[in-house]
């Protein structure tokens, strides 16, 4: 995509671009380019690698049962390796997890919480949405029959309540659609004024000026004759159209003055397009994020040893041994194999005694992990749908610790629902996670009540957790710095004798399940290459 960004967009035709690609990179590059341009032709990397020659019964221990570990175990065992999985927790799935009635967690140095939602309701404390280009995730979801549904990541009726701005809209809940219609309308009107007055004539090729004005009129919903923004039908009406003469045709709403919106800061939620991994429409697995790990396990025929906490790893020129503590029985034990595929987060790995070089050891400690967490709050009515006509999407606030609240993209028109009450990161996460469970919930309810007055009264059970306080994680995901990417990242990609790492931390999709899956695809090829020559 870099070629595209350097041109600042489509500086030449798609055909010319593709021809240029095929000229320098052959058909493979052209196909990748066609996929990037939306022709829907998949690149070869959208599939797991073929491990030609097979595993010939060589033994591999996979450490960790998150999606990276499950991917590695599934592909390696299918290729003929003899795989055993070790998992520290009493459940498989790692961060790909769903909290539902009865789910328990004790945070490090903290309280034990038991989720008290009604049956059938859940929150995804870890990953919760899938971008369209996460082909590995979608590959396995399709393969294992894990149903997905659309995740609404952007709702025109999202309320924005910004208290830190100034002017008459500060501290007043406005709708995203109002801000979008008004700002794009005003911006188009201002620009049209300049263009029509001839101020920008030097910028246009022959005939382009008129086309550009057509664009501004369409984009800004300006009046046909004089390019004025006077509001728009799609900007939530004050009276919706209906039958007869009352309500009849309905009544358009009036735009806010431009200066009021500018001063309020609410325009900060607007972007011409969404970020690559924050598309407006995404996916989620039906029933919660644990469904994909469950799909893997249904299709895996390898032993998964739960409550096996890895203490250290040793290796020599013939084998590699994992020393573990069975936390159920309290017995220490070992497991020996030809290779270890280690999918344990670096935040945990750095506490272990490992058979690695000094630079490798330093690299394991060279990345920090995100402070991050969530709270799910069950609401006894779906008032955001029933009363506010908001079907999915986020609420935007500028509370010091909370910036978004999210409504569920499941259970539409049902009785109850679980809202994501906060999803803080960094310093805000440090502060919220230092609160007691009751304080966290009270804080979340107070923030939501500013937008929806019934928010606190509707609240029932809740479940909050922070990944930096979660045993066996101690952090949300790897956060590489630019220096770390140069200095440490390449080191960790290479095998250390019979030990090979994989996980989201070894990808440029950190914090996404896709990073774990694609990292596993890459690293099992390295394992396989070693096994082939051994």
């Amino acid at each position: 995509m870099s070629e595209l960004s350097e041109t600042g967009g489509y500086g030449f035709s798609r055909r010319a671009f593709l021809e240029r690609l095929s000229g320098v990179g052959g058909t493979a590059l052209m196909l990748a380019g066609m996929s990037a341009l939306g022709f829907g032709i998949e690149s070869a990397r959208a599939q797991p690698p073929a491990l030609s020659g097979g595993g010939k019964g060589k033994k591999v221990i996979v450490l960790g049962t998150g999606v990276a570990g499950l991917t590695a175990a599934y592909e390696l065992s299918n290729a003929g390796y003899q795989v055993t999985m070790l998992e520290a927790r009493d459940r498989f799935g790692g961060r790909s997890w769903t909290a539902k009635r009865g789910t328990k967690l004790t945070e490090v140095g903290g309280e034990t919480e038991t989720c008290d939602f009604d049956e059938g309701y859940y929150i995804n404390p870890g990953p919760w949405r899938i971008p369209y280009f996460h082909k590995g995730y979608l590959h396995y979801a399709k393969k294992f029959g894990v149903g997905v549904e659309l995740f609404n990541n952007d709702n025109d009726l999202s309320p924005i309540l910004y208290e830190k701005g100034s002017g008459p809209l500060a501290g007043k809940a406005v709708k995203k659609v109002e801000v979008a219609a008004d700002m794009r309308g005003y911006a188009s009107e201002l620009l049209a004024k300049q263009v029509r007055g001839g101020a920008l004539d030097g910028e246009f090729g022959p005939g382009d000026k008129e086309l550009f004005l057509d664009y501004l009129r369409t984009e800004g919903m300006l009046t046909r004759s004089d390019f004025k923004y006077i509001g728009a039908e799609g900007r939530e009406p004050t009276v919706y159209p209906g039958a007869g003469t009352d309500p009849g045709a309905g009544v358009w709403s009036k735009p806010y003055p431009m200066g009021d919106i500018l001063k309020s800061g609410t325009w900060k939620v607007l972007r011409s397009i969404s970020n690559l991994d924050q598309q407006r429409t995404m996916f989620q697995p039906i029933g919660g994020m644990h469904e994909l790990p469950k799909g893997f396990v249904r299709n895996l025929k390898v032993p998964i040893k739960l409550q096996h906490e890895v203490k250290s790893i040793t290796q020599d020129d013939k084998s590699i041994t994992v020393h573990y503590l069975d936390t159920k029985t309290g017995q220490a034990g070992t497991e020996t194999a030809d290779y270890v595929m280690c999918c344990i987060p670096l935040s945990i790995l750095r506490t272990m005694d490992l058979p690695v070089s000094a630079p490798f050891k330093e690299a394991i400690g060279g990345v920090s992990y995100a402070l991050v967490g969530k709270i799910g709050i069950q609401m006894k009515e779906r008032f955001w749908e029933d009363k506010y006509r908001m079907y999915g999407g986020h609420l935007y606030v500028d509370d010091p610790l909370i910036s978004t609240i999210s409504t569920p993209s499941t259970g539409w028109l049902g009785q109850k629902g679980v809202v994501l009450g906060f999803y803080p990161h960094g310093a805000a996460a440090a502060r919220l996670s230092a609160m007691t469970l009751a304080e966290r919930k009270a804080y979340a309810l107070k923030a939501g009540s500013k937008i929806f007055p019934e928010y606190a009264d509707m609240a029932e059970g809740s479940f909050s957790m922070f990944w930096h306080r979660a045993p066996y994680n101690l952090g949300g995901w790897a956060e590489w710095t630019e220096d770390g990417r140069k200095k440490y990242y390449p080191t960790l990609l290479e095998p250390q004798g019979r030990l090979i790492l994989a996980g989201e931390h070894l990808s440029y999709l950190t914090g996404w399940q896709e990073g774990g899956i694609e990292s596993a695809w890459q690293q099992i090829q390295k394992l396989h290459a070693k096994a082939q020559v051994a």
Partner: protein, 132 residues
């Protein structure tokens, strides 16, 4: 915190010279609110993840060191510039340097201000979508 607020804060301190502007336990409660989730309530830390502050030489060394970390962040630790003002940071650091057997001198807001510098940017509190 804007420059204006910082000046106000410094002015308040000057006005209160001779009497401590904040009770000693402010540092303790600010520590519990902001730091204890990771460094733990008694500063013992979590091995491998969050360093212990009790008995920590760096924490008890030149006060500019820990003040710099608080204002700029380090490793997995976020930068608290947008969340705490100089006086609050000074209170936390003074508490940490004297609690749990630590025995280093307290420090004041001007010292924090001196290391905060122009490059210590507050965390972005703009309301873009959360990542992931």
């Amino acid at each position: 915190m804007s420059l204006f607020q910082r000046i106000l804060c410094a002015a308040a301190l000057t006005a209160a010279a001779g009497a401590p502007a904040f009770a000693a336990d402010d540092g303790a409660s600010l520590f519990q609110q902001n730091c204890a989730a990771c460094h733990q309530p008694k500063g013992e830390g979590v091995p491998g993840a969050f360093p212990p502050l009790a008995g920590n030489k760096f924490v008890q060394g030149d006060p500019k060191g820990p003040a710099y970390v608080l204002t700029h962040g380090r490793g997995g630790m976020p930068n608290f510039s947008g969340d705490l003002d100089d006086q609050q940071m000074a209170a936390i650091l003074s508490y940490v340097r004297s609690a749990w057997g630590n025995k280093a001198a307290s420090l004041d807001a001007p010292l924090v201000a001196s290391v905060r510098g122009a490059d210590a940017l507050p965390n972005d509190t703009g309301a873009n979508l959360p990542f992931h």
